[in-house]
């Protein structure tokens, strides 16, 4: 059985100018695999992640024919039941640790809280777990980091803390929403490989949302290409170069390559028809 099964997911926002559709009917399944979702900003990829966690708030609206976690329909859960899903079964790492960590709580408090929200355990045990988890994300001096405030740690370390915090309740699925876009290029890969190792060790499903086709193809098994709220193409990461859709080709060709230098990078072509037709 697949971990996550999404059919015809739609996210729309009621605004004064009318209804804006951010996601227009996408379907996909996720197994114990690493699934990449790639698209430019505004393509609806982040909304997809948040819709799965039911974190879209009014005036946003989420509709789907089916949105099942290990066979259980998420849309029929009460808010209280949904809280047991968030963190415990599906977790999410967001873009910039500078904003996604609470600036006035220590790192330790925030990690222990994530654990204690789902486990009936003592603070002492939570503390031990948190230290273990910080070690697992390759933080050398976890005792010191536990007592630090988010503004006292670097971006790369912040994001590793975020990963530790999101993995501590042992979820089945991790959604990583542009987890490295705010980081220095030099630490991006390190953070990603730490996340990758943990996800594979635990046999989790990963949804890796990014605009960076290169990174995604390197760290994922399968890639969905989104454009204007729709999935325009799905393919194996390893066979991305065989992609047929003009938009995917455009994305691929707009990347500079060392082995095939070009005088000019291609400008991404956009065709409104892609948003209308089905993938």
């Amino acid at each position: 059985m697949s971990l996550l099964d999404v059919e015809n997911l739609r996210v729309s926002f009621d605004t004064r100018q009318g209804v804006v559709e951010a996601v227009r009917g996408i379907s996909f399944t996720l197994g114990q695999e690493r699934l990449g979702i790639v698209g430019e900003s505004g393509s609806g990829k982040s909304m997809t992640g948040r819709a799965i966690l039911r974190l879209i708030r009014p005036p946003g609206r989420v509709e789907a024919d089916r949105m099942a976690l290990e066979g259980e329909e998420l849309q029929s859960l009460s808010e209280r039941q949904m809280r047991k899903v968030r963190g415990r079964r599906i977790s999410m790492v967001m873009q910039d640790p500078k904003f996604s960590l609470n600036p006035v709580m220590t790192v330790g408090e925030q990690i222990m809280e994530a654990y204690l929200l789902h486990a009936r355990d003592s603070r002492r045990a939570a503390r031990r777990k948190a230290l273990e988890m910080l070690e697992a994300v390759a933080i050398r001096d976890p005792e010191r980091v536990m007592k630090a405030y988010p503004h006292e740690v670097s971006g790369g370390m912040g994001q590793r803390i975020m990963i530790a915090m999101m993995l501590i309740p042992d979820p089945r699925i991790l959604i990583a929403d542009e987890p490295t876009s705010a980081l220095d290029v030099s630490v991006q890969r390190r953070v990603l490989s730490i996340m990758d190792t943990l996800v594979r060790e635990r046999g989790m499903g990963l949804i890796f949302i990014s605009h960076d086709l290169n990174l995604v193809s390197e760290f994922c098994d399968r890639v969905l290409i989104m454009y204007a709220g729709r999935i325009v193409e799905t393919c194996e990461a390893a066979r991305l170069h065989e992609a047929r859709h003009p938009y995917t080709r455009g994305l691929l060709n707009s990347l500079p390559r060392l082995d095939q230098p070009q005088d000019r990078l291609e400008v991404l072509a956009r065709d409104p028809a892609w948003a209308g037709g089905d993938a």
């Binding site: 809280r83 968030r86 415990r88 910039d96 904003f99 709580m105 503004h151 309740p169």
Partner: protein
């Protein structure tokens, strides 16, 4: 405050930052108070009443008049006179009140606790109701409770405080008889407890005299509630807007992703972030109440500093007016700067 890494004999960084900022604030405080003194000095000079006449009387001979003028330092150039004025103020000398024939400083020391008591209780009421109302409005943005909170605040901003005081007296004292009338105590209870702090609620509690305490409470509750309402209007609006900002932050999404209850998201994660901002707002509204209690004190014959200044004003007792203005102004300025300083020292974004 974050844990501080003390290295060697040096001051921990936040403390050093605090001292630096405190110094800068003290400097700007001094300049501002000097400005206030200059303004009151000018007001005292343009006053159409001749201070010399007040001393020598209408029938003094020109020689006596000139001597008195010299004695008062009025023949000196203005900057020198300002210097004399500063020297006097620095020694706590605001002259003698015409109305009470006592030094203005003593008068102020006597009436100030009444104002302090009233404003403190007022701001407490404002915080107690204003903060929850603001938070509720923010988490129910656009719904009926938000509209109610908005209306409550708008009415507060639009209501003439002295009028509301009159209506309050009419309804709760005149018609319902629920509260004590004007003044701080019924005459019967006057002077029963020794004055320690000058605040009757505190003094009577210290003396363990709960009859006096109850009577004082029945007198203060109406004016304090009124002042509380006005600070509530301001505090609830500010709380709402801080809260909205905090709730839209990404770390709130993080908290929700963790699977936290909405209650915990709001009161632990969002509220912790606005505490410092709120504190500065509360200090500011406290300053505003100290000043804004003038009209309330008149309505309720509350013998505080506003009542004192106004009465002095109507009697053209300029020493008392200016002395009171300087004292209220200085406290107001200090609280103002304190709120600024609090923000800079404790807000993580300013650190």
């Amino acid at each position: 405050m974050p844990r501080t890494a003390t290295t060697g004999g040096r001051l921990p960084a936040p403390l050093a930052g605090f001292l630096g900022r405190a110094l800068a604030t003290a400097g700007s405080l001094a300049v501002t108070v000097l400005g206030l003194l200059f303004v009151t000095f000018i007001i005292g000079r343009v006053m159409p009443i001749d201070p010399v006449l007040a001393v020598v009387g209408e029938r003094g001979s020109p020689e006596v008049y000139a001597a008195a003028r010299e004695a008062l330092g009025l023949d000196e150039p203005l900057p020198v006179q300002f210097w004399y004025y500063l020297r006097e103020v620095a020694q706590g000398d605001f002259g003698t009140s015409l109305l009470t024939a006592r030094p203005v400083v003593d008068d102020i020391a006597r009436v100030f606790p009444a104002t302090l008591e009233l404003a403190t209780l007022g701001v407490l009421i404002g915080v107690l109701f204003g903060v929850p109302l603001g938070v509720l409005a923010a988490i129910n943005r656009g719904r009926w409770i938000d509209q109610v909170a908005r209306l409550v605040a708008l009415v507060g901003y639009s209501m003439p405080i002295f009028w509301l005081g009159l209506i309050g007296l009419l309804v709760f004292y005149g018609i319902l008889g629920w509260v004590g009338g004007p003044g701080r105590l019924d005459v019967f209870y006057d002077g029963l407890v020794p004055s320690v702090t000058g605040m009757i609620l505190v003094d009577s509690a210290l003396a363990g005299d709960w009859m006096v305490f109850g009577n004082a409470l029945s007198h203060i509750i109406l004016p304090a509630s009124l002042l509380g309402y006005f600070s509530l209007a301001y505090i609830s609006r500010m709380t709402r807007s801080f809260m909205l900002e905090a709730l839209s932050a990404e770390y709130i999404t993080t908290a929700r992703v963790k699977g936290m209850s909405e209650w915990r998201v709001v009161w632990v994660h969002a509220f912790r972030n606005i505490r410092v901002q709120l504190l500065t707002v509360i200090v500011l509204s406290y300053a505003n109440l100290l000043e804004g209690s003038v009209l309330t004190e008149i309505i309720f014959s509350w013998p505080g500093i506003g009542f004192y200044i106004t009465n002095a004003l109507l009697a053209a007792d300029m020493n008392a007016v200016l002395g009171g203005t300087v004292v209220v102004g200085t406290i107001f300025i200090i609280l103002n700067m304190l709120s600024d300083l609090l923000y800079k020292v404790f807000d993580p974004r300013a650190r």
